[in-house]
Amino acid sequence: MATDAAFLEVRNLQIGATVYPPDAKPHDIRIVEGVSFDLQKGRVLGLIGESGAGKSTIGLATLAYGRGGVQITGGEIFLHGEDILSAGKKSVRTTRGSKVCYVAQSAAAAFNPAHRLIDQVIEASLENKVASKSVLTQRAITLFESLGLPDPQHIGSRYPHQVSGGQLQRVMTAMALCSQPDLIVFDEPTTALDVTTQIDVLAAIRHAIQKTGVAALYISHDLAVVAQIADEMMVLRHGKVVEHGDSRQIIESPRQEYTQALVNVRAIDHPPSTTDAAPLLKVGNITASYPGSDVAVLRDVSVQIQPGQTLAVVGESGSGKSTLARVITGLLSPSEGVVTFDDRVLSKSLGGRSRDDLRELQMIYQMADVAMNPRQTVATIIGRPLSFYFGLRGKQKRQRIAQLLESIELGPEYADRYPAELSGGQKQRVCIARALAAKPRLIICDEVTSALDPLIADGILKLLLNLQQREQVAYLFVTHDIATVKAIADSIAVMYQGQVVRYGAKAEVLTPPFDDYTDLLLSSVPEMEVGWLDGAIAGRRMESAGH
């Protein structure tokens, strides 16, 4: 039985699904096993875990919902002492719209582009007859205001495409709060946002939670983010609870080994090295725009990389960092400026470059699954550069493939697998091996760890650093993640709206005094400590007061 204090009670939750593998009989798998927790009003529980840990599944289960064939096979969920799993369809419908609400990861995909925001914000509450339309509209405007949205009176009459991603995420939070629910499930609400936007949304969400006294489940893979908003945390792995406790305890003195690994992620220590060697790559005064548009995506960009060093290009989406990578590889011809590689001026277009130019400059992509041909085996993928550039075949080629697999810490048996039979981290490793096979002198890494879980990403970064030491290869590392930059860079270029706003050795760039944008960027990255958000926001308020 539920007590008054804990208004959400989850008891021994079991969730399963039937899988239909192509080569075997359909069988049942367990996604969540024996998860139990209580939640009081006004408290926030953070659910932490890697992809596949079952955190979203648990979140949706509190709405009595299983996504795509997922079934709740056991356990009980009490909301206000009522078992919502055994309740009928009709009462579940009213519960969902009015008592429990859900905020999805991608607000852009969750809003209907054909309707005005305000109509969508109050739709569910209106349907469930929570209040009259005018009351709800007024309530929504108040929520817009408390969530820090500009022009709260009129922003509701806009369409989803007329507001920014961060604003849309806040409107979605308003939608969830509008029916004055008892429980809100936040499913990675800030993951798709830029870091400087994330901090505002995070602060807005926390402010709204505190003001309304609602209980919340906050799902994220990012421990530092959850630490800012949750009172307690539950660490999940393979559908089981690893550790459950107070946020401060989890962050400051994690008991389980897995939690410790999560807390210490990105603690790679990479002392930056400097060298007087002549630069390997020189990007000189590049200005570029995409065909058919006059808008310059890059404006007068100049950077250089010494042999065996790492330059991190950091910036938010739209800053032009990936475009810079495309210009260097020759996929996009710049309108002005030159790219010099080892004292040779590289042709602006791909077609004009010699085979050696192409070989010495390799690229690794963000999404490893689409960077490999799904119809080729690992041996073909890694072996192609070997026969293409060096004419290796037969036994020699097989030996070299085995060698390369070893260098990315995979066994020789992986040679005959298809990409679909590899995990996310393994896929990225194979992509690294493909780049290494060409014996390049520079590898461009475009957000190579962004799509990976933190621990896996850590492994990839360590591998890249080891390979750099062994092979003396230089990296141009394009990323939006400051923690990654700190872990691997020798020098850093900060990009903002197509320009390099700060450029130099790592220590130099990361030491004050900062320019405005770098300051904003650096102060927006959540630290792995409870209460960091308060300090960061207070810092900003003071700054804006000082201006």
């Binding site: 020759g330 996929l331 070989r359 041909n373 799904p374 119809r375 080729q376 298809y418 990409p419 679909a420």
Partner: protein
């Protein structure tokens, strides 16, 4: 492997197999000769003439079996031609892009804007009437459909990172078309192959019915419908038998095509897809 084939596809495979066997071993299976007059005009079905005789007193079963040979052979050749031509040009247009793509696509639009049957009738009445012309006309006209499909599938694959990676490596067009894109475009194309084959059978039958396809005394199903159509007035079912054969072949090949289409249309790849 076999137990995962659904019943509908098994039926399709079995019936199509029967037709193929009949076509390949026609001279051994047919009880009488192709042009041999063996009995009276439009004799009913009997133990001597299993399906009866046709408008000239030839054994209908024998002509059906020889007809299967002609019909399936010509349809297969025309499909092969339309596929090779359409797929290669379609993939190339997607990879090369620019004016090459524009030129080809607009030319294909032009061809498609003329009703196929009328176009074929005009061309065939001008050109010398032999087997090769027939196959060429059928194949080229149909390749426009294959071109459109191949191009649209390839345009999507062409923008994927692995194709870009191949381009950055310096690979030539041949490798990109045949090694990177074609294997991933194969399943929709193979499924389309079944459909196109059926359209060719129907197309050939229509042409023969109108007198521009296979010329008598050679047998093909569409021509046989034409020869025996007057019998329907007297209640003679001879024309319905080749018509039924056409539809049964169409349905069974479609069942196979459906199964292939269902099995693999995704880009996830792996072993199952090959």
């Amino acid at each position: 492997m076999l137990r995962r084939i659904p019943l509908s596809a098994l039926i399709g495979l079995f019936v199509t197999g029967l037709f193929l066997v009949a076509a390949i071993f026609a001279p051994w299976l047919a009880p009488y000769g192709l042009t041999e007059t063996v009995g009276d005009v439009w004799e009913p079905m009997s133990s001597t003439y299993l399906l009866g005789t046709d408008n000239l007193g030839r054994d209908l079963l024998s002509r059906m079996i020889y007809g299967a040979r002609t019909t399936i052979f010509i349809a297969a050749m025309a499909t092969a031609l339309s596929f090779t031509l359409g797929a290669i040009l379609g993939l190339l247009a997607a990879v090369v892009g620019g004016w090459f793509d524009q030129l080809l696509s607009r030319f294909v639009d032009l061809l498609m804007s003329i009703p196929t049957l009328i176009f074929a009738l005009v061309v065939l009445s001008v050109l010398p009437g032999n087997l090769i012309t027939l196959i060429l006309v059928m194949g080229i006209l149909d390749s426009t459909r294959v071109y459109r499909l191949a191009r649209s599938v390839a345009v999507d694959i062409n923008v994927m990172d692995f194709v870009e990676a191949a381009r950055l490596r310096g690979e030539g067009r041949g490798w990109i078309v045949f090694r990177e894109i074609l294997p991933n475009a194969l399943s929709p194309l193979v499924a389309e192959l079944g459909l196109r084959f059926i359209f060719q059978v129907l197309f050939l039958s229509a042409l023969s019915f109108l007198g521009l396809g296979i010329q008598p005394p050679d047998a093909d199903w569409g021509g046989m419908v034409k020869e025996n159509k007057d019998g329907i007035i007297f209640g003679i079912p001879a024309a319905l038998i080749p018509a039924a054969a056409i539809s049964i072949l169409a349905i069974s090949v479609n069942l196979i095509a459906d199964w292939i289409l269902n099995r693999t249309t995704d880009l996830k790849g792996g072993r199952g897809g090959n």
